[in-house]
Symmetry: C2
Subunit: 216 residues, 2 copies
Amino acid sequence: MNSEVNIGFLIYPNVTPLDAIGPAQMLSAVPNSRVHMIWKDLRPIPTDIGITLNPTTTLSECPDLDVLCVPGGFGQKALMDDQVVLDFLKRQGEQAQYVTSVCSGSLLLGAAGLLNGYQSACHWALIDELRSFGAEPVSSRVVRDRNRLSGGGVTAGVDFGLTLVAELVGEEFAKLVQLSTEYDPEPPFDAGSPSKAPPELVEKVQRRFAEMWGSS
Amino acid sequence: MNSEVNIGFLIYPNVTPLDAIGPAQMLSAVPNSRVHMIWKDLRPIPTDIGITLNPTTTLSECPDLDVLCVPGGFGQKALMDDQVVLDFLKRQGEQAQYVTSVCSGSLLLGAAGLLNGYQSACHWALIDELRSFGAEPVSSRVVRDRNRLSGGGVTAGVDFGLTLVAELVGEEFAKLVQLSTEYDPEPPFDAGSPSKAPPELVEKVQRRFAEMWGSS
């Protein structure tokens, strides 16, 4: 690894900002790290919560990344056959120390051929889609297979981020980051996974995601 | 409440982006909601992780907010006697349905006189500072006192956000949001609060926060 640790998130129209900002907040604590937000150009990018995010670099100017991360979002669907984006992921994915994703971001890694024969996490409602890319879906919050590290849906990015901080710097440092960000979660309800939520809610979310993703 | 639910986050140089984006991601699901990022002008704002956030409106042009939220960050320290910012918070705080904060954001609400006689949460390492504003520090992840709702440090913004979604729309809907964002946390370590982390880490974080905040 270089003395500078380059951590890059691909962002794109209709990305889910928490998928990127959750882990970015954790990973920005890594000594000598630099967080990049990467897209085709530097114009502000609309997200799925009505605010914009600014790319810090472009696909062509991005330095070699130590950590490549693809956050999720329905906007990804439009990128599944975008050769410029897929080529970027392939190029960076071949040389990065860690090839990573949060939520449905693993599907785009899959489309770039980077998960063939790997286990991966994904948002629970889209996880079966991983099979079409030769990946093995694993329903865990954070999944590691060799240098692939993936988080489940949206908020799993925080658990994923802390796990990766520990990989890069060590457990002691990751605990320091956990304490600094007071990550001692207390969800007000216990409906955060399909095994815990009421079946009618599970069905509702499943249906909405299938519609948005265009899967059957 | 208007038919449009206006949810506004004050952002400022050196804000902690996860403090705002965590709850914003949850609250953006509220039907007819609009998420505002508010600052003095519309130029991109540097954050504490090296990326920028874009204001969507200004202090003077911001509509009356249903939810006023101040996220934390050391950049706040420079605002503690900024009359333009304090006047904005006072004006909005007097009419908003909910006056809220994440992490050290409660200190700026305090400086604006909005927490006098109220219980409030804050980042654990700065929570005692609340007393100087007449507020009563409460070491809980989410604290409610009348229409004041506050979250603890950084990642507490997600628990805070879901709690507020339940207030605004109802528990069933909040559970739907929890399931959609797969908020079923599994921190890889158990060091997220001063009662759980090793004492030497607690001291280290406490010292750093005191230095950054300029408190003794």
